[in-house]
């Protein structure tokens, strides 16, 4: 019988009512009285010297308030990078300046050159067309290996080359790994591309800057996953505004997937310009503009080698990756191919020796940063593809080869610097084999063959590091921030509760799930609890939502604050019942004295806290509100096994996903309905990457996939119903809820199983195909069949 309330139940989402009736409050729904509108004039070339911008004609256009150019920002700080990687040789990465508006050079199509502020959007757009700018176009570098070749044009003239860093991990393992390869019984090598993607949250970014001269207070409304982080980065590093004079509000946000973590130039511009013209300034990004201004994702080119002994045990793993940074370092870009990628290369396997080399490269393309999974999908894809290839080369069953090499004892310290606290990879694989009905595959394959279609089955495992992250650890790894979370639990006099959380909900359902936890702790109805988030003036501090961290880190902070509240409430209850604190028990919203029939209700205690007539004032302050900061002791390690069955049409190369099954271990589930929804969405994006999506630049740096006409987003008829299971749960051992995080799993776990399935289908059809790079479009699959 499923639970009907509290942890483990699936109540309907309370946020849905406003979203379903058009009553949501997204940033573009916010209009500040008197606001002007900004339109950015952006570079239409990928690389060039900006000799001058003539705004005279544009300034005379109707409605124009003011036009800003790079000169207005010459004395303003650039956009900061939040992570500093140290390379193989002990040197820090090359870190270029990232101006708000271009300073003498443009470095990618979309780089902002000027900003027109006018009374209406239409007037701002019209006037931008009248700006004359003089650019001497320079040769662009798009391909990463070409960018590192001798004599390549430099994206940043003041850097020594286009190499941001050359990172080795773990550098001390390098020689031992080479020795293991030298004596391997078998080595499988795979070269692959993890293609560039665009996050494409359905809500385009928006920023509204407001300024009150009389009080010198700034407000920024923005589409952000982490408003406090934006306040800190923009206030401290770009505009020099202290936190108490800068409020950042991120209201309802229409999806993020990583792309709304970062601090963007447009946010700084609107905040700056609102003061400069003493009038609110609003920017709404168009989708076309989003394609050339939102940080993009993935874009790794990798060679991976797996060494096995004669019994098919993995003995060593070696990878060589080029990671595209784009033209500038976006906020957390350097962390993605390094600490979010190298540390996951052990996967679910006890490979004893691993060496990862990553060269991060500047190119004349849009900056690249975290996109759902961020580094972990790249790690999983290459590992699970090379294992599949090895199994086929060795003639062993891919599932058997995986099982043979599974980590089975926990905690497990990997050779890539992390310690898995718990997991059961055998159980998730057993469950997968059962619910994916692998026993019925052969029958289904024959049925497909009768229709002239090739059917294939692909399987993979995954592990991720979530609940990001222990501050002391990420500090050593280059983070310029702590990655704790905070929460305030404010109990009102009549017993209702407001939880102010630093986590941010942009689709994850925190307003429904977080109260389930508090309701269980106190024994009151969930409707008595509200969740407040997304506003720096309401929430004390917050590092925000990404890396599947909300419940594991933000939820843990909330639990710690609630524990403090309960401890204080017990003292008040003890006073009211003239008992000892130690004897007070809280159950079902009633405080009782152990071993007696004395009790007082939750509401009696909360009222006493605010009407302290009968109250231990000499020992306790009135009121009932507590704040906690929670810094996790370790990452969490969700893991699972996925299976995909495809049909390939040999006439056209078209791939159809026939069945998709996911078994995940997320530890304790607070709201299984929401968890399943997160997995569904991740699988949808993973199938998108595997079959459809890909960001393409031509040799001149023009983005060829700059709209939904050209960038193939997965649609309802591209995907099947999914079967997902979370029953193989091993609770996290180091956070109070035992939760691991579920936001990214689907996107991490699904691409390899799709590609493995297509390769399987083609091999069963007699084609000697060992790999096809994503997206597996009909033309790529068809060409592979012709060649193999």
């Amino acid at each position: 019988m499923p639970k009907d309330h509290g942890i483990g139940a699936s109540p309907k989402r309370r946020e849905d009512v406003r979203f379903l009736t058009g009553a949501g409050n997204y940033t573009d729904d916010i209009n500040v009285k008197g606001q002007a509108y900004v339109h950015f004039l952006r570079s239409d070339v990928a690389h060039g010297t900006l000799n001058g911008v003539d705004t005279a004609a544009a300034e005379a256009m109707p409605g124009v308030v003011r036009i800003f150019t790079g000169a207005d920002f010459a004395e303003v700080g650039g956009l900061p990078c939040g992570w500093q990687v140290t390379d193989r040789f002990g040197e820090v990465m090359q870190e270029p300046a990232h101006p708000v508006l271009a300073q003498g050079k443009v470095r990618h199509v979309g780089d902002p050159i000027a900003a027109v502020v006018a009374d209406t959007y239409a007037q701002a757009r019209d006037a931008a067309e009248a700006i004359e700018y003089d650019i001497d176009e320079l040769p662009a570098v798009i391909d990463m290996k070409a960018a590192l070749s001798k004599g390549a044009p430099k994206v940043h003239d003041d850097l020594t080359s286009n190499l941001c860093f050359d990172w080795g991990f773990v550098e001390e393992n390098k020689e031992a790994v080479e020795a293991a390869f030298a004596k391997a019984a078998h080595v499988t090598t795979l070269e692959l591309v993890n293609q560039r993607l665009v996050a494409n949250a359905m809500e385009p970014r928006v920023a509204v800057g407001d300024y009150h001269r009389a009080t010198d207070e700034h407000t920024l409304y923005t589409t952000s996953q982490n408003p406090h982080v934006i306040r800190l980065l923009m206030g401290a590093f770009v505009l020099g505004i202290p936190e108490h004079k800068l409020r950042v509000v991120a209201p309802d946000v229409g999806g993020g997937f990583g792309s709304k973590i970062f601090h963007y130039a447009e946010e700084a511009f609107c905040t700056f310009a609102a003061k400069a013209i003493n009038r609110p300034v609003k920017w709404t990004c168009s989708r076309s503009e989003a394609f050339i201004s939102d940080a993009q994702g993935r874009d790794h080119v990798t060679k991976i080698e797996l060494a096995l002994d004669k019994s098919n045990n993995f003995t060593a793993l070696r990878t060589d990756t080029h990671a595209n940074m784009g033209a500038y370092l976006s906020t957390f870009a350097p962390s993605v191919p390094t600490w979010l990628h190298g540390t996951l290369m052990a996967g679910n396997y006890k490979t004893p020796l691993i060496y990862v080399n990553v060269k991060a490269v500047f190119t004349n393309t849009v900056p690249v940063d975290a996109y759902r999974g961020a580094g972990r999908p790249e790690a999983t894809f290459q590992l699970e593809r090379v294992i599949d290839k090895a199994a086929r080369e060795l003639g062993v069953d891919p599932i058997k080869l995986r099982r043979q090499n599974f980590i089975t004892e926990f905690p497990y310290a990997t050779p890539v610097a992390v310690e898995y606290d718990t997991g059961d990879y055998v159980a998730t694989m057993d469950k997968l084999e059962e619910i994916a009905d692998m026993g019925g595959f052969e029958k289904r394959r024959k049925a497909s063959a009768k229709k002239g279609l090739l059917r294939g089955l692909g399987v993979n495992c995954y592990i991720e590091a979530c609940g990001i992250a222990p501050s002391h650890l990420v500090g050593q790894l280059g983070a310029r921030a702590g990655l704790y979370e905070s929460a305030t639990v404010r109990v009102n006099a009549t017993g209702g509760i407001s939880v102010m959380t630093g986590s941010h909900s942009h689709g994850q359902g925190h307003e429904t799930a977080f109260p389930q936890v508090i309701a269980d702790m106190i024994g009151i109805d969930e409707s008595m609890i509200e969740i407040v988030h997304g506003d720096t003036s309401k929430v004390p501090m917050g590092m925000g939502t990404y890396g599947s961290r909300s419940l594991a880190v933000g939820g843990s902070a909330m639990v710690r604050a609630a524990e403090k509240v309960i401890n204080k409430a017990k003292k008040i209850a003890a006073h009211l019942m003239e008992a000892s604190d130690a004897d007070i028990e809280l159950k079902d919203g009633q405080f009782s004295v152990a071993g007696t029939d004395k009790s007082v209700a939750w509401g009696d205690v909360t009222l006493a806290a605010y009407v302290p007539h009968n109250y231990p004032l000499e020992e306790l302050e009135p009121g009932l509100e507590e704040t906690a900061f929670y810094d996790p002791a370790n990452f969490t390690y969700p893991a699972g096994a996925y299976a995909c069955e495809v049909e390939v049409d040999p006439e056209t190369g078209k791939v159809t996903i026939e069945r998709f099954t996911a078994t995940d271990d997320f530890g304790t589930l607070v709201n299984p309905m929401i968890v399943s929804g997160q997995v569904h969405g991740g699988i949808g994006q993973g199938i998108g990457q595997a079959l459809l999506e890909g960001c393409v630049y031509d040799d001149d740096g023009q983005l060829l996939t700059g709209s939904y006409m050209d960038y193939a987003m997965p649609r309802a008829d591209d995907v099947p119903f999914y079967k997902v299971d979370h029953s193989c749960a091993t609770p996290c051992t180091h956070n109070p809820l035992g939760v691991k995080g579920c936001g990214e799993a689907g996107a991490i776990g699904s691409p390899p199983s799709v590609v493995n399935a297509v390769v399987d289908a083609l091999q069963r059809g007699g084609h000697e195909v060992t790999h096809i790079d994503m997206p597996l479009s009909p033309s790529r699959v068809w060409q592979a069949m012709q060649q193999g």
Partner: protein, 161 residues
Amino acid sequence: MSQVSMTVNGKVATGEVEGRTLLVEFLRENLGLTGTHVGCDTSQCGACVVHVNGRDVKSCTMFAVEADGAEVITIEGMAAEDGTLGTIQQAFQDYHGLQCGFCTPGMVMTAASLLAANPKPSEAEIRAYLEGNICRCTGYHNIVRAIMAASGQDVSGIAAE
């Protein structure tokens, strides 16, 4: 500037617009009906779907002046007067057919058109009809379930969790 007048969610709405003003801009900016969203600029994503004279229309692809005299229904007009959710809206909540909520108004309006024309659509018919509505959150699983349930079909055999 032109004067336009239309019926929106049963009430007469008038305003001054430029020739280039889109219907979605008129709804959002002139009328303050911000439930209708803009998710792209190539008529692909469907976040802006409304009903015009009973048909589902992408309001980013129609000028406000073209809707002069028309009967327009937006997401704000889909619940009952007392706030009770309509059948499709309720099914989206019951079956977790939305996450961030941004594409949701367009999904609901499109689903309403589908069910008006085809009261018991198959899974394949639903997926095909949603071709013009992009969702980035749900992987479509629960959207399709919700629409099937709203049309009175038993979805208990389709994995919920």
